[in-house]
Structure formats: structure tokens, C-alpha cells
């Protein structure tokens, strides 16, 4: 599902650039295998085979589990479903997950924008090291992240002892969960935005600067509109990942019911207690959020593409341009 999201997100950012938009509209490149797949019998077989394989894999890996989640959730009827998601513990889990997600998205958006800006606009010593470092959360196991946080912020950790003296509790509490989630989702916004900023270059920003705009005006009027889709995509990824984060949160949360149990942890809790219907009910909530996100994004995308295409219909009627030789 991640892959398909990624493809969707690339479409508008490409067509917003003027030259590419033009080429896309005027010359749709013919598919390199078009001849093969449409004429010869071998081609037809190949095509059928590929389509069937793809459908099979998608069905087994994506559609089937989705169906199972909802089927299991409603197996004992609406009543049980509603009870499962409306009991106080479930509501507490929802509230916790939502507030953690909101905080993480805010943190990562702020961090992502500034890091992407600094990495794409400036060349400095250690830049490459920093780029690799930003990807670190993607390459180490979330459980390890959780353990590291305990080592640093735990009661006997380096910073934990000091914080404890001030009465701030990080591990087995809300701040720890936010830290763990933010750490794991750190690269998501940066990566999307940085890639776009690098391909777009900074000539528009330079133009704005020469026209007298100050830093904030350049960011707000020029950079932000340019990167908004990449940013939105990063935010959506970050939201989805924050809501669903399990490993790192599981280590630092302490599983205190009604206090530090997020939605994914709650699903596990219920499942381990053999409350399958309730577990699937809560899981269906998470799945539902994911699906809604996907739909919203697709619809949005579609609308933008249509707007862009409509714009291109009335292209290139070069006005008669008399030479002004006064």
C-alpha cells in the first residue's frame, strides 16, 4: 500500500513543473512493450499471466487480510462491536493515540521542513553524514529504539535521573511514547520534502529575493506552495505511521491500562486476553483510518490532476507579437 501511495504522490509534483506538464500533455510516450503485448499470442499470454499473478498477490496479501479484519470485527454483531470500541479503556487508547499522533506530526513537520531546507539549499561539512543519519530510524528496529530511549531516559538512564529529580517522568509515560513515535517517524517528512526541493532547485526563491522579499515571505509565498503536496504526503505517511507504531512504543509505554496503552498496544492486549472480536473491532478502527486516508488522498490527487489538465487545454496560442522597433 505504501508503494501505491508513493506513485500517487509523484504524479502531481511532476506535473506542477511547467515544462514537464507540457511534455506530458503533448507527447505521451508509447509503451515500450506495446507491440509485443498486443499483437502476438505469446504477448497476450504473457499479459494475462502477469495480470493474474499481480491480482493473486494483491488478493492474498492485501485484500484478504482487509476483509478478514472487518469480518472478524463484526462476527458477533454490531452490539459487541460498539461495546468494544466505546468502553473507557478503548476511548482512552483512542485519545492517547490521537494526541501522540498530533504531537508527532507537528514535531516532524517543523523538523522536516527545516532539515529539508537546510540539506537542499546549503552545502556544509558533515552534510552527507547528516543525510544518512536522518534515515537511521528507518534502518534500526523500533524495539531497539525503545530500548535506547530507556537507556537514556529510564530511571537509571543518563538523562532520566536528572529529569526524575525535576519531577518529569519520560519512560512509561506520555512523553516517552511521543519520543519513541517521533523518533521512528522522523525521516518521513524530511525525505519527501527534501527530494522535491532538490529537484526543483532554488531559482524561484532567488527570484523572490531579488524582488525584495524577506525570508518569511519567500518561504510562505514561494517555497511552501511549491512543496505543499510533498509536505502533505509526508504528513499523511507520518500520521499513518504514528497511529500504527507498535514496537518502540511497546517498549517504553509500560502498558498501564487506560493511561499508556495506544491503539495498537490495545489491540495486542485484547488479543492476548482472547477477546478476539474486541481486538478485531479496534483493529478495524485503525484499518479504517488508513483506508480513509488513502481515499482522501486519491480524490485530492484526482482533482489536482484534472485542474492541471484543464489548464493545459488552452495552451500555446501564441499571440501575434509584433516587433517593437521604435
Amino acid at each position: 500500500m505504501k508503494q501505491s501511495l508513493r506513485c500517487l504522490s509523484l504524479a502531481p509534483s511532476r506535473s506542477t513543473s511547467p515544462t514537464n506538464g507540457f511534455t506530458a500533455a503533448s507527447a505521451e510516450p508509447s509503451h515500450p512493450y506495446a507491440g509485443l503485448t498486443q499483437s502476438s499470442p505469446v504477448g497476450i499470454l504473457l499479459r494475462l499471466g502477469l495480470i493474474l499473478t499481480t491480482l493473486l498477490i494483491l488478493g492474498v496479501f492485501l485484500v484478504l487480510p482487509l476483509v478478514v479484519v472487518f469480518a472478524e470485527a463484526f462476527r458477533q454483531g454490531w452490539h459487541v462491536y460498539c461495546a468494544a470500541i466505546s468502553n473507557p479503556e478503548a476511548l482512552a487508547a483512542v485519545r492517547l493515540s490521537l494526541s501522540v499522533t498530533a504531537l508527532c506530526v507537528a514535531i516532524n513537520t517543523a523538523f522536516g521542513l527545516s532539515a529539508a531546507w537546510c540539506l537542499s539549499k546549503y552545502r556544509f561539512f558533515g552534510r552527507n553524514a547528516l543525510i544518512s543519519l536522518i534515515d537511521l530510524p528507518l534502518s534500526i528496529s523500533p524495539v531497539v529504539v525503545g530500548l535506547l530511549l530507556i537507556l537514556v531516559y529510564g530511571q537509571h538512564g543518563w538523562l532520566g535521573a536528572i529529569l526524575e529529580r525535576w519531577g518529569v517522568r519520560v519512560i512509561f509515560a506520555f512523553p516517552g511514547i511521543v519520543l519513541a513515535t517521533a523518533f521512528v517517524t522522523l525521516p518521513l517528512v524530511v525525505r519527501e520534502v527534501k527530494t522535491l526541493m532538490e529537484t526543483e532547485g532554488s531559482e524561484e526563491e532567488e527570484a523572490a529575493r531579488l524582488l525584495g522579499a524577506n525570508g518569511w515571505q519567500i518561504f510562505y509565498h514561494v517555497t511552501l506552495p511549491k512543496i505543499r503536496w510533498a509536505l502533505l504526503y509526508g504528513v499523511i505517511l507520518c500520521t499513518a505511521r504514528s497511529l500504527g507504531e507498535f514496537g518502540a512504543v511497546s517498549v517504553v509505554s509500560g502498558h498501564i491500562r487506560g493511561f499508556t496503552v495506544t491503539l495498537p498496544l490495545y489491540v495486542e492486549l485484547l488479543y492476548n486476553e482472547y477477546q478476539f472480536s474486541a481486538a478485531f473491532a479496534v483493529a478495524s478502527l485503525l484499518t479504517g483510518v488508513g483506508l480513509v486516508t488513502l481515499v482522501v488522498k486519491t480524490v485530492w490527487q484526482h482533482r489536482i490532476n484534472r485542474k492541471l489538465n484543464r489548464g493545459q487545454d488552452c495552451l500555446f496560442e501564441e499571440a501575434s507579437f509584433p516587433c517593437a522597433s521604435k
Binding site: L211, G311, L315, C323
Partner: protein
Amino acid sequence: MRIEVIEISKTFGKFRALDRVNLTIHAGELVALLGPSGSGKTTLLRIIAGLEAPDPGSGRLLFDGKDVTYRPASQRGVGFVFQHYALFRHMTVYENIAFGLRVQRRRLRLSPADIDARVRELLRLVQLEPFAERYPHQLSGGQRQRVALARALAIRPQVLLLDEPFGALDAKVRRQLRTWLRGLHDEIGLTSVFVTHDQDEALELADRVVVLNAGRIEQVGTPEEVYHQPQSAFVTEFIGTVNRFRGIRRGSRVEFGTSEALSAGEEVVVFVRPHEFALSTIPHKHAFPAVVQRIHTAGGLVKLWLMAQSGELFLAEIDPHHLSQLALAEGDTVYVSARQLRCFTEDGQQYPPAEPLRAAVGQ
């Protein structure tokens, strides 16, 4: 506004893009920075705009005598047109042009009505009134170029800088815009500097041409001076079509185009433009023999590809009438002398200094 560049250098890592450049651009001039890619012409333009800073302590930049070396780009009041226009793609043509007026500090900002009037005026100037509500991607290259120009002019700059302004346009639009830009420059009375690698563009459009090579200024002069009195081998080769020969100077005599041992004398490089050759079917004292390789008659002048005895292939241009008098065919031998030539010693000194040789000096 007068622009003075004094001893400015710029290094990128180990690459020296500009090496102690000195240049004065007078108020109201239209100046071309001409050079091959990597010669530093765009860097110089970006330093004048304030988009690059010169190497610390390397030199100074003066606008009307005032030091602006460290004045930020946003406060230089310079109009800049980028090679690929850099229009704000999410804004309409109207909004693009209005941008510079709208981001002014409140104290200096025009009223919305005045901004509107100014934008309308500029739209009229660049003949894009019907396109005000279009987005950049809905415009052709030439139209985008004019939007970029209008946007740069909106803030009433005293200096207009253009980076390869016609580079991305097709030949016909390019020629139209060239004439139009010249008219516009004269009408508004700006000081304009544009960067180009196209010598025709520079020679045709500019009051003065600055030829750059490898971070240094090779020559500054009017198009006529640069074309007819190039001061270095580089300028001679870069401007116009020219044939290059190895030669020997002995006193006031220069020999080239011959296969005989080039002995006893100073080695020089000899440049002759295609139209500066005199061809004859009869051998004479100042001419060297050459074999006609190919005759190309399409066009106003006849192009002859000739091979000298020294093995050097060169191009001569004569008028068709002359060709029929000579009755030449491919494979014939013809005697070639130069009506005019330029001669540079190996260390780049011109011989004789400043004056092109008028006498025909062949073998």
C-alpha cells in the same frame, strides 16, 4: 546607474570562476558578457545581482560609486531575468508581476490601486494583456520570457540583468525578442547587462561586448572593435569564423600555409577570416598553393574548403561571380593569399601590436 567591478575574484572549491576581474559599465549601456561555458560570465552576473558573494576581501562592487559588495540581493533593486525564467508557477501572470510590489515593506508599498495600475502598464508593455489570468505553464516560451521581464521591471530597477535571456527559445522568437529588448532598453533607459554564449546575439544587440575566458576578461569593446580588432588569439577564434594556421615570423614577414621547413624564426599563430582570402589561378610571390576539396554554393557567398600543402584544411568565402571567373572545380589547385590577417606569438602577444596586417604575406 554605473556599475564598477573592481578586482573581484570568485572560487568554487578549487575552481577559480573569476580571477581579479575589473569592469566598468556606464549608465544606460547595454552590455553583453560573452564567453564559452565555464568562462565565469554567469558568476559575474550573479555577483552583480548579489546572488553570489565574491571571495572575501577580493574586491569591490560599486553602484554609482557606492560600495554594494555586501548589500543583500533583496536590497539592491536589481531586475534579474533567469535563463529558465523562474516564474512562480502557482501564481498567475498578474500575480507574478505584482509579487515584487506586494512584498515591499508596508511603508514603501504602493496602494492596491497603484499596484494594479503598474501591473496593467507592464502587461501592456510586454504585450501580454489578454494573458493576465494564465498560469506560467499555459504560456509559450516567448511569453514566459516576457512575463519574467515584466516581473523584473515591476520594482523599477535601475539595473536589468539577464542570464542567457534567449537561450531557451527557438530561432525565430529569439530574433523578434532581441529586437524588442533593444527597443525596450532604449525606451526605459536602464543599464542592462546580459550573459550569452552566442556571439551573433552579443554583436547584434550590445553597445559593448565583454569577452570572458577562464575567469578573466579577454577584451572589452564595441562589437566592431571586438570583431575587427581582436586583442588576443582567444577573441579572434571565439568571435566570428576564422581559420587558424601555424606560421613563422621573420622580421616583418609572416609565412604560413607552406610545407617547406618552417625554420629560423619565431613560431606564431596566424588567423585569417574566410572572406579575407584572395584567390588566383596564377602563382605569385605572396600566395601559397592549395587544393580545392569541396565547393559549397548554396548561400550568398560561395564556400570553398581548401587544403594547404602544410595539411591544414581551411575555409574561404568568395562571391559567386568571382568563382565563375576562376572556373574552379574540386581537385584544382588555387593560389591563396591573405588580404588581411592577425598574428599572435605563442605567449599571446599580437604582431604587429594592435594593427591587423594589411599586406598580403604568404609564402
